[in-house]
């Protein structure tokens, strides 16, 4: 009985995660985008905790705290600092207009579910459908990276992708081995720092973070 309850909670959180993914896809303002990202992290932490509690996998507690520190607190904070320092206030322009993006996103989500169902069948009872949701949000953040035109949202998209991966790792399986998660976390952190450094360099060189300025290297 408890199992089912916790599984319901996890599924709920998964749904929330997917919702957030769509929200990010639709979001125009960069600040809100960061907020949403933080929320995603929070949902991730919650689901990890539930999983840990339900399955008694202790290392999941560690990864939950890790997530909390990294993705709810640290990275959003860094991003905030960045956009303050860089005075990024503009709205986000997209390549394709939002509704179209949303439609594509929905299509992707359906595709992901269709792809994941046969696998979810054999997943342990606790984590039905979560794999599909993870895949869906993965594809969604990928889509977001494609359609965004500025550097920062692209990076946020990348981080969101990281989140969905993490979610897949924790919920679909009972969490990856701790050493791996630590490694992943490290990479993400370093990655974020480097991104940060890059923002400054790019801004200095191109007077803007619009990646349209970075289309010089090509075949002509």
């Amino acid at each position: 009985m408890e199992q089912s309850l916790s599984s319901q909670v996890v599924n709920l959180l998964a749904a929330f995660l997917l919702l957030l993914a769509f929200a990010m896809l639709a979001q125009r303002r960069v600040l809100t985008l960061i907020k949403l990202f933080a929320w995603q992290g929070a949902a991730l932490t919650a689901s990890t905790l539930v999983m840990a509690y339900a399955t008694g996998q202790h290392h999941l507690y560690y990864s939950a705290t890790l997530t909390l520190l990294l993705k709810v607190i640290l990275i959003p904070w860094i991003l905030h600092r960045l956009i303050n320092r860089l005075q990024i206030r503009w709205d986000i322009e997209t390549l394709i207009n939002i509704p179209a993006t949303m439609l594509i996103g929905i299509g992707l989500a359906i595709f992901a579910f269709a792809l994941a169902t046969p696998i979810s069948e054999m997943a342990s009872g606790l984590t039905r459908a979560t794999l599909g949701i993870a895949m869906a949000s993965l594809l969604l953040s990928f889509l977001m990276m494609i359609v965004r035109r500025k550097a920062v949202p692209q990076v946020i998209g990348f981080l969101a992708m990281e989140n969905s991966l993490f979610f897949a790792a924790t919920s679909a399986t009972y969490g990856m081995p701790l050493v791996v998660e630590l490694g992943v976390a490290l990479d993400v952190l370093v990655g974020t720092f480097i991104f940060g450094i890059f923002f400054f360099h790019i801004r200095d060189e191109f007077e803007s973070l619009d990646i349209r300025h970075m289309e010089k290297l090509k075949e002509d």
């Binding site: 990348f158 991966l165 791996v180 990479d187 890059f198 075949e219």
Partner: protein, 482 residues
């Protein structure tokens, strides 16, 4: 023990150079650490050849002929490249393209980069493999953007975004792998250990693994530079410092391909049919053909050889995709000779560009007249990479082509066209650079050309005679790749 050394030296070197990388003797230190790594790798190799496969640190590390040969190769090319980068970087500094701080960054990152690659090769844990590969990406991103020019920043940014995204897909694939393995091995650390997965590979869930392989192939394939995931590669090679280009196409691509092959083995075991092989053959052919046609349009010399790397990676992927002892043998051999030849070419190209002050091939002329060593090095290197006997590249291409002609005749026309176009393109551009009148200036530091000719000599030897222990080594590796 050896493993610890192999990993320890570069890590130590990275830390030391992070502190002293700006000193005058930093380049020597860099080369020294690489030398130590090489020695350790050699010891490890001896041990594995004599003692057979071995695991260490509760199986977190695993060494078998396949990866130990790549370890040795990586350590060797890492060392020679360090030798080459000594005068090269000094000249760059002398030309004012770099300052002390950047040099420090360069040296420490160089060591860290080789550390991550070696870790990736040695790790038995697929998760760690992923982590270190991502680490390699991060390290090289900094190296590519070393000059801080707009072009180099753009290249680095593209490299960073594309590879990170790609490798994220790979991570999802790994998760799926874990997901499948967990069912059989149960939760916990061992389920990601390659050896364990290998043991149970025929019991893993086929549908999951086929799905996983797609993600893994797209992920690692991005780093291998398979068309159409290759777009970061030419930019990164062209804009980074030449030693970095050398190790990128000489080593990093190999390592990424190594990851793909490791996964292929598992998937094949699970699926029983050659699903993964077909995918790899497809990607390989596509890469070979597309890269060949790109080659003919290049103006920037480093960019051109970057495309040639894509082409050769395509050939190797195709060979591994075909499978079978001969093809796998050829693939491994081709990995070796390609990284040796290509790095040698980049060495000569580096000095040539320093002499002329441009990477634009139209402005590089008459190398043989002014500096015969560089000129002949470039000419012979290019002919070698184009598959001219008696150089070793021909050996592997011979095996690949004849096997392909026999097993997949449909593929050979594409290969024929691609090789022809590639030959016309590269040779047609190299010839005027090495021949004819000259317009070169002298260099402030004597160029390091020993590495070039050492590499070419080894490649030449491999074309005429492959030492038996090497053969044995390849055989074991090929046998397990299947």
């Amino acid at each position: 023990m050896e493993i610890a050394l192999v990993l320890g030296f570069p890590l130590l070197g990275g830390l030391l150079l992070a502190l002293f990388g700006h000193k005058r003797w930093a380049p020597e230190l860099n080369a020294l650490m690489s030398l130590f790594t090489l020695v350790a790798a050699a010891a490890l190799t001896r041990r594995v050849i004599t003692g057979g496969p071995m695991a260490a640190l509760e199986e977190q590390f695993f060494v078998d002929p396949f990866n130990v040969f790549l370890v040795a190769l990586t350590a060797f090319v890492g060392f020679t490249t360090a030798l080459f980068s000594r005068p090269y970087m000094r000249i760059e500094e002398h030309h004012g393209r770099l300052n002390a701080a950047r040099l420090r960054l360069y040296h420490s990152m160089y060591q860290l980069f080789s550390f991550t690659m070696l870790l990736c090769l040695l790790s038995n844990n697929i998760g760690i493999l992923w982590v270190s590969l991502e680490g390699a990406t991060l390290a090289t991103v900094l190296l590519v953007s070393l000059y801080r020019t707009p072009a180099s920043l753009e290249a680095a940014w593209k490299y960073f975004i594309l590879c990170s995204v790609g490798i994220a897909q790979a991570l999802f694939g790994i998760i799926l792998l874990y997901f499948a393995a967990e069912k059989i091995i149960g939760p916990g650390g061992t389920s990601l250990l390659w050896t364990h997965l290998y043991a149970v590979r025929d019991r893993l869930e086929p549908t999951v693994l086929s799905l996983a392989f797609v993600f893994l192939l797209v992920g690692f394939g991005t780093k291998v530079g398979l068309v159409p995931l290759h777009n970061w590669l030419p930019d990164a090679h062209a804009e980074g410092p030449t030693p970095v280009s050398a190790v990128l196409s000489g080593l990093l691509l190999n390592v990424a391909l190594y990851a793909v092959v490791r996964c292929k083995v598992l998937v094949d075991g699970a699926l029983g049919r050659n699903f993964s092989g077909d995918l790899m053959m497809g990607f390989g052919l596509l890469s070979v053909v597309v890269a060949a046609f790109f080659l003919s349009r290049q103006k920037d010399i480093k960019r051109m050889f970057a495309y040639s790397s894509i082409e050769h990676m395509g050939i190797v992927t195709f060979a591994f995709g075909m499978g079978g002892p001969v093809a796998a043998f050829a693939g491994l051999l081709h990995m070796t000779v390609h990284s040796l030849t290509k790095s040698a070419i980049f060495f000569t190209v580096g000095h040539a560009t320093q002499k002329t002050g441009t990477q634009n091939m139209a402005d590089i002329r008459g190398l043989i007249e002014q500096s015969p060593a560089i000129g002949w090095g470039l000419a012979l290197g290019s002919l070698a990479i184009l598959g001219m006997p008696p150089f070793g590249v021909f050996t592997s291409e011979f095996l690949v082509l004849t096997t392909a002609m026999h097993e997949h005749p449909w593929a050979t026309p594409f290969l024929l066209v691609a090789l022809g176009v590639a030959f016309a393109a590269i040779f047609g551009k190299v010839q005027p650079m090495v021949f004819g009148e000259t317009n070169l200036r002298r260099l402030p530091h004597a160029p390091a050309l020993i590495p070039v000719f050492v590499h070419l000599a080894i490649v030449l030897m491999l074309g005429l005679y492959i030492p038996p222990y090497l053969v044995e080594w390849y055989r074991q590796a090929a046998a397990f790749i299947g």
